[in-house]
């Protein structure tokens, strides 16, 4: 066997360059990509087609889907609850992504100018590693109206207690704040990594020219960080639109739907009322909206790419 093998290899070596090239590594490649292809076909492609089909049907999970044309789309677009949940989600996204990005930029810039401490960075990352359910629970307790630390502190300072989760005006800002707390460290580290890629000599040149810290930040750091800023914004925006866990744990969409975000509404329609077709339709509209947003943001990203030469 070994002798045969030894004899065969030289022959093959000569064959390999020309005749087998066009055929490529077909059979071996199939072995390598089979699991990935299978996973994609069963759990990404098939459900996408199926979900698309459901959006044209009346499907209650119990009986088979029944074709209804574009009824679902008409119904969703005329559903004030749908628009309310889109509005709520948008408010959440703006508050969350806005505050998260600004604070993260500040923290990243400070770390970049002051310290390389791994301990600091690791600590800032901790909330990101914790399940959102846990984060929601801990803040539900900290912000509890009667016994929560924050309201107890307000009380001892002689201030009125605040119903962070029970006041309809405050529910979404509170949830935005909680998730900003959870993700700001992660975002800051992404910005920090981007800042490390900016050549040190640009800063030295700025220092020689007598530019102050603020001026350096706005004239050097920010413009050179633009591509990463855009990328992180795209990722945060898409992620932020998909908020579910924190709402599910803290308010369950309440009070009176004040925090019923789109994911939660789709979840309710699908698994509380068993309106699968209706839920699939809303999911498709969400895909479209996210697609348009991503496209716009990537366009902005490409426009600013040339800044880092």
């Amino acid at each position: 066997m070994t002798q045969l093998g030894l004899q065969r290899t030289p022959a093959r070596r000569i064959q390999v360059p020309r005749p087998t090239r066009p055929r490529g590594d077909g059979r071996v490649a199939l072995f390598f990509i089979a699991p990935v292809l299978l996973g994609f076909a069963i759990f990404y492609l098939y459900p996408t087609i199926r979900g698309f089909w459901w959006s044209f049907t009346d499907y209650s999970l119990l009986a088979d889907p029944e074709f209804v044309g574009i009824d679902n789309y008409v119904a969703v677009l005329g559903d004030s609850e749908f628009w309310n949940s889109m509005w709520v989600t948008l408010c959440y996204v703006v508050l969350n992504v806005g505050s998260q990005t600004l604070i993260a930029l500040l923290l990243a810039a400070l770390m970049h100018r002051l310290t390389r401490s791994v301990v600091l960075r690791t600590t800032l990352l901790l909330p990101w590693l914790v399940p959102n359910v846990t984060v929601g629970l801990v803040w539900l307790w900290l912000l509890d109206t009667n016994l929560g630390f924050v309201n107890r502190t307000l009380d001892t300072m002689g201030l009125d207690k605040i119903g962070f989760f029970t006041n309809p005006m405050l529910a979404i800002p509170t949830i935005s704040f909680i998730n900003t707390w959870a993700f700001v460290g992660y975002t800051a580290l992404l910005f920090y990594a981007g800042m490390l890629q900016i050549p040190q000599d640009t800063y030295e040149a700025a220092a020689i020219d007598g530019a102050g810290e603020l001026r350096t930040f706005f004239r050097i750091t920010l413009p050179l960080l633009k591509p990463i800023l855009a990328l992180v914004l795209v990722v945060s925006l898409i992620g932020s639109f998909q908020i579910f866990d924190t709402v599910a744990v803290t308010t369950k969409g309440g009070p009176v739907n004040a925090s019923r975000v789109i994911y939660y509404y789709i979840y309710q329609q699908a698994f509380t009322y068993f309106h699968m077709g209706y839920a699939a339709t809303m999911a498709i509209l969400l895909v479209l909206i996210l697609g348009v947003l991503t496209f716009i943001q990537l366009r902005l990203l490409r426009a600013s790419e040339s800044q880092l030469a």
Partner: protein, 316 residues
């Protein structure tokens, strides 16, 4: 002579820079103090909720009102951990402030560990194989196929979630480990993309040398490529495991049953079972602490690796 002459020179030199440094120091010191203040506030703001969680977990349920404003529990106890881990009898649990319903976080943590380990291991392995094929092997339709697979990155989870739930239900896999891990076991577009990117960037020399020695593609992959890719493989496995640990919606739909319930689902159920007017905060915080411990350990032992992995997973 020269050696003895050196020290005085060395002593004489410092004053000049020292003066300069001090002047520069005083000029920015206010900004520096302000900057460090912000960082310290961020640090305290990050850690305080965790501190409060642990503190509340160590507070006896009877003291929850009297200790609500204290920074340290008056009578610290481990009884809340004991009862959420299912170590106490129902009577003892009720005496310690629980509802008496069966709560067994030891089991839920084990379920979560199994869930994360299966997903972390198989997804990394299969995506490494796929990523290698898409980076190195030549076959018909390679780039088009890869483009299609990566397009799945753009599809939000909720869209595939509904049909996947129905599929798992129809296959009779509700409340089984395999039903829970199925959609993430074989691939995620992110892991595939990340590993292909890595394989594109490593030099071909070693593989070519192995090929000249007569090794087949599969052998090269196992013996040469995988060992070389250890770092990125561990990184992607870590990220996958962390995400699996945080998963909530999917395990909530598929694994409500106690035998497969993960930590996050169990926390949600625990909160629901607890009376709305007066939730069992001490028990809930003990359970929350247990859900943080594994990731905190991960961060302590692999913190540098995780932090540095962000530099390239997040950006490239």
């Amino acid at each position: 002579m020269t050696t003895t002459a050196l020290p005085p020179v060395a002593v004489e030199q410092p004053p000049a820079p020292r003066v300069r440094r001090r002047r520069a120091g005083t000029r920015v010191s206010l900004g520096r103090i302000l900057g460090w203040t912000v960082l310290v506030i961020a640090l305290v703001g990050t850690l305080f909720p965790f501190y409060w969680m642990v503190k509340s977990a160590l507070t006896p349920a009877a003291d929850i009102v009297s200790d609500a404003g204290n920074l340290w529990p008056t009578n610290p106890t481990a009884v809340n951990f004991a009862r959420v881990l299912g170590l106490l009898s129902p009577e003892e649990t009720r005496a310690a402030g629980g509802s008496g319903a069966s709560i067994n976080f030891a089991l839920y943590i084990w379920n979560s560990v199994v869930y994360c380990a299966l997903i972390g291991f198989f997804q990394t392995l299969f995506c490494a194989m796929g990523g290698y094929a898409f980076a190195r092997l030549r076959f018909w339709g390679r780039n088009g196929l890869f483009g299609i697979l990566i397009a799945a990155l753009m599809v939000p989870g909720i869209f595939t979630l509904l049909p996947n739930f129905v599929l798992v239900r129809d296959l009779g896999l509700l409340n089984t480990v395999w039903g829970m891990v199925a959609p993430s076991l074989l691939m995620t577009p992110f892991a595939l993309f990340f590993l292909r990117q890595f394989f594109l960037n490593i030099p071909r020399d070693v593989e070519e040398a192995a090929m000249l020695d007569g090794a087949g593609k599969i052998r090269i992959f196992w013996r040469v490529v995988l060992p070389m890719a250890q770092g990125p493989l561990i990184t992607i496995a870590l990220i996958t495991v962390v995400w699996a640990w945080k998963d909530y919606l999917w395990p909530l739909l598929i694994g409500r049953d106690e035998s497969v319930r993960t930590v996050t689902v169990a926390l949600g159920v625990y909160l629901q079972q607890s009376p709305n007017t007066q939730p069992d905060w001490t028990g809930l915080m003990a359970a929350s602490t247990l859900s943080v411990v594994p990731v905190a350990l991960l961060l302590i032992f692999l913190g540098r690796r995780i932090v540095e992995s962000l530099n390239f997973t997040g950006i490239k």
